[in-house]
Each structure stands twice: as structure tokens, then as C-alpha cells.
């Protein structure tokens, strides 16, 4: 092979170099989330005030138009919700009675509370991933406000997702409707385990996938599905949604169907971040 005298760097070479750097970064961040956060920190701190500003301006303009467009839907929704409130209030009183009963029994048996009330931090959504594949959102609270990776996020009483990276002032949340997310779940009353999986094509109809329910387990349609005790990322007892259209799978061993999420993902605006992280018993790395 002849050596070329001119040491000119061709664009092709730069391309290969940059591609190699990108792939290296991908591998590095896949292996260790800390590299990830380190790389994000510098970028994000300068970007965050701008993002927030744009978000406020955008909401100001689009919000007004949106309100007009959705007014009709909101009116009918309001009617429906009023009925629901009445129904739930009635239910709630019944549950409160039962709860007091339960506490008495628990005290008698000296059992500790399995589903304690978690500490929450409210956060505004300032950005969403603009590619139409992944459903990740960015909020205006970060490690300065006590947010850390793996914290659970809820809205409207339902599970929204999990924090995947934080900087000083922002946090990125991967939502459970994301195609690559699985949540270990269980039926609220039956305690039968199942798995909730995000699916982009199902989400078009506002649904998630519900699977791996043993055929004889007592989960039926409209049952409340909550996060499982055995999940290693999610705190137990957070409402995810309601089971729908369950059918026995072709293997005749398991049931699967859909889940209607409790959180309204298309109108998310503020979320609550639970600042408790699930204890898995693994030593801290």
C-alpha cells in the first residue's frame, strides 16, 4: 500500500471517528448510568432556564387555542366526572370505615403498615421527547430538590413512570407507556401477579398490555391493577390502571389482556415524584 503524502483529513475519516465516539458513548452509558448523568449535567444546566421559558410561552399561546378546541370534550367529561365523584365519595366512606376496622385489627396483631403514604414532590413538565417513538418527559425538578434516579412518578393517582436521569435542576422520566418498559404488577384485591408492558401501537387507543396472569388467578375485567410487592423498581401498591378484555392465551396456562391506565398521559401537565426509593435489599453500588 502506498502512503499518500498529503495528510489531509477527509470527511469520511471524521465520520468514522465520530461514529466510533458515539458507539463508545452508547456502550458506556448502557453499562453505567453515572457516566450518563455526568455527560448530561453541563448541557442541561444552561439549557433548563431556556426550556422553561419556551414552555411557558408555548403554553400561553397553545394553551388558549387548546382550551377552545377541547371545551366541548371537557364539558361532557365534567358531567361524567361529577357522577364519578358522587360514586367515589360514597365508596370512600365505606372504605374509611373498613380502614379504621383494619387499623384496629393491625394494631391488635402489631403488623406494620405495608402501604405507607410516600413523601411526594410536585414537578412541572417542561419538555417531551419530540420523536414520535419514545414517550419520555422532562420536569423542572432535579437533584437539588432531592430527586434521584429510580424514583417513581405518579399523576392523577396513577403510576406515570420512573426517573431515568437527573441533573441539578431537571429530571428525565421514562413513562410506563414507553415501548421498552415493564412493570411488575398485581391485582389489588386478588394479589395475583401480572406484568404491565408499554406498547406504542396499543397506546394509540389509550391502552397498555397486561400479561402473564396465571389462568386461574382471580383477576377479572375492571379490576384495579397496582404495582407489585415484588417489583424491584416500583414501590408497592401504586395504582396503575384497570384490567380490560382479559382472555386466556393459546397456551392455556396464562391470561392476558389490556390495561386502561389511571393517569391521563395525553394531558399530563404536573406530576408527583415519590421521593422514597424501593428497597431491594441489594447493597448500594
Amino acid at each position: 500500500m502506498k502512503k499518500k503524502p498529503a495528510p489531509e483529513i477527509r470527511p469520511k475519516h471524521i465520520m468514522f471517528l465520530l461514529a466510533a465516539i458515539c458507539i463508545l458513548l452508547i456502550i458506556m452509558s448502557a453499562m453505567n448510568t453515572n457516566t450518563n448523568n455526568f455527560l448530561r449535567a453541563g448541557f442541561n444546566n444552561t439549557l433548563m432556564p431556556m426550556q422553561k421559558g419556551f414552555n411557558i410561552v408555548g403554553n400561553g399561546i397553545f394553551g388558549r387555542v387548546e382550551r377552545l378546541v377541547h371545551l366541548h370534550d371537557v364539558e361532557s367529561e365534567n358531567e361524567r366526572l361529577k357522577e364519578q365523584v358522587a360514586e367515589l365519595t360514597e365508596q370512600n366512606t365505606r372504605y374509611q370505615l373498613r380502614l379504621s376496622e383494619l387499623t384496629t385489627y393491625q394494631n391488635l396483631l402489631s403488623l406494620s403498615d405495608q402501604y405507607p403514604e410516600y413523601e411526594k414532590v410536585g414537578a412541572h413538565i417542561i419538555g417531551k421527547n419530540s420523536d414520535n417513538w419514545f414517550k419520555t418527559i422532562q420536569v423542572d425538578k432535579g437533584s437539588r430538590d432531592g430527586i434521584a434516579v429510580d424514583m417513581n412518578v405518579i399523576a392523577n393517582g396513577g403510576l406515570v413512570g420512573i426517573v431515568t436521569s437527573v441533573t441539578d435542576t431537571t429530571a428525565t422520566i421514562s413513562t410506563i407507556i414507553n415501548d421498552n418498559r415493564n412493570v411488575g404488577a398485581m391485582g389489588l384485591t386478588s394479589k395475583a401477579s401480572c406484568i404491565v408492558t408499554g406498547d406504542l401501537t396499543l397506546y394509540e387507543n389509550g391502552l397498555l398490555e397486561l400479561s402473564k396472569i396465571a389462568k386461574d388467578d382471580a383477576i377479572s375485567n375492571d379490576d384495579k391493577i397496582v404495582t407489585s410487592n415484588t417489583s424491584d423498581l416500583y414501590l408497592p401498591g401504586i395504582l396503575i390502571g384497570y384490567a380490560k378484555d382479559l382472555t386466556v392465551d393459546s397456551n392455556n396456562l396464562t391470561k392476558s389482556g389490556y390495561l386502561v391506565p389511571a393517569a391521563d398521559f395525553s394531558h399530563l401537565d404536573t406530576v408527583l415524584i415519590l421521593t422514597t426509593i424501593k428497597e431491594t435489599g441489594e447493597p448500594e453500588s
Binding site: P11, K12, I14, M15, L18, A19, I21, C22, I23, L24, L25, I26, M28, S29, A30, T35, N36, L39, R40, F43, N44, L47, M50, Q51, F54, N55, V57, G58, N59, F62, V65, E66, V69, H70, I125, I126, G127, K128, N129, S130, D131, N132, W133, F134, T136, Q138, T164, S165, T170, T172, S174, D179, N180, D199, L200, T201, E204, S266, H267
Partner: protein, 172 residues
């Protein structure tokens, strides 16, 4: 130097517009990809090197704010900058409807990359469903914006070249 700051401003503006306004708003179902338009426009007009670096920067921004893996978006944006830069060497910038063709080409490249590495790898095989529901709407929205934005970027580049020539003469 001036060119660098102009690029920086344009990319940041597009990033903020698409992620913090368009995507957050519930009025639009599919968000047009402004960063992609910038990448292929400048790649085509200015060549491989500038296309690559603008693409890399656009991708890194996306990675840092929304990606789970840093480098995932950077890689594809960078490659699109390179490919359109290569096409730019073969065709005139004024070639009829070239921007539209480039837009469709790079948007397909981009979405196919995300589909293959983000979805196909965990067993989502129905490309046709994703094509109809995700890729096509985005390509349409982005193409419509390209018709308008490519002209803006083309003018912007002409302005910059003019200024560069003028300041070069001053030093002679």
C-alpha cells in the same frame, strides 16, 4: 466564528420549539422534526463536515435531555449530516425539489434507525403498523415544514457567505 454562533442559535431555537412547545402541546399528534431539517439542509448546502457536526450537536442535545443512552440520537443525526453532505456534492443546491427528496430520505433513515434499534430488537416486528402510525405522519409534517424552512436556511447561508466575503476583503 459568526457562522458557529448562528448555527448554535438556530439549533437551540429548533430544539426548544420542537421539544418544549410542539411536543408538549396536545394539539399536534405527531411532532415535526426541525432538528432533522437543519441537519440535512446544512449538510446538503455546506457539505459533509458541517452536516456531520451540526447533526452531532443536534443528536447530543436530544440524548442529553431525553435519551436513555447518550450517543443514540447523536449517531443517526451525524450520519444523516454526512449522507446529505455527500448528496450535496453530486447535485446542485438549486436542484428541483431536492429539499423535499432529502427530507423524505433522511426522515426515513432516522425513523428506520429508531425502529430497528429501539423496537425491532425487543420483538416488535410489525413495521407496517409503525410505518402507518408513527413514521408516515412525521414524514408528512416534516416535509410540509421543509418546503418553507429549507428556503429560510438557504437564504441564511447566502447572507452568511456574503458577510464572510466582505470581511475577507477587508483583511486583504
Amino acid at each position: 466564528m459568526r457562522r458557529f454562533f448562528v448555527y448554535l442559535g438556530v439549533v437551540l431555537l429548533a430544539f426548544l420549539l420542537q421539544n418544549n412547545i410542539f411536543a408538549v402541546s396536545n394539539l399536534i399528534d405527531a411532532t415535526p422534526n426541525l432538528l432533522l431539517i437543519i441537519t440535512f439542509s446544512f449538510g446538503f448546502i455546506r457539505g459533509q463536515k458541517e452536516g456531520m457536526f451540526i447533526g452531532l450537536f443536534c443528536g447530543l442535545l436530544m440524548d442529553v435531555c431525553f435519551g436513555e443512552l447518550v450517543g443514540y440520537y447523536a449517531l443517526i443525526y451525524m450520519l444523516i449530516g454526512f449522507v446529505t453532505g455527500t448528496i450535496g456534492q453530486l447535485f446542485y443546491a438549486e436542484f428541483l425539489n431536492m429539499p423535499l427528496l432529502l427530507c423524505v430520505l433522511s426522515d426515513f433513515m432516522y425513523n428506520l434507525y429508531i425502529y430497528v434499534f429501539g423496537f425491532m430488537v425487543h420483538g416488535r416486528m410489525s413495521l407496517s403498523v409503525y410505518f402507518a402510525h408513527v413514521i408516515l405522519p412525521e414524514v408528512v409534517y416534516t416535509s410540509v415544514l421543509t418546503l418553507f424552512l429549507y428556503k429560510v436556511f438557504f437564504r441564511l447561508n447566502e447572507k452568511l457567505e456574503e458577510l464572510e466575503k466582505r470581511s475577507a476583503k477587508r483583511f486583504v
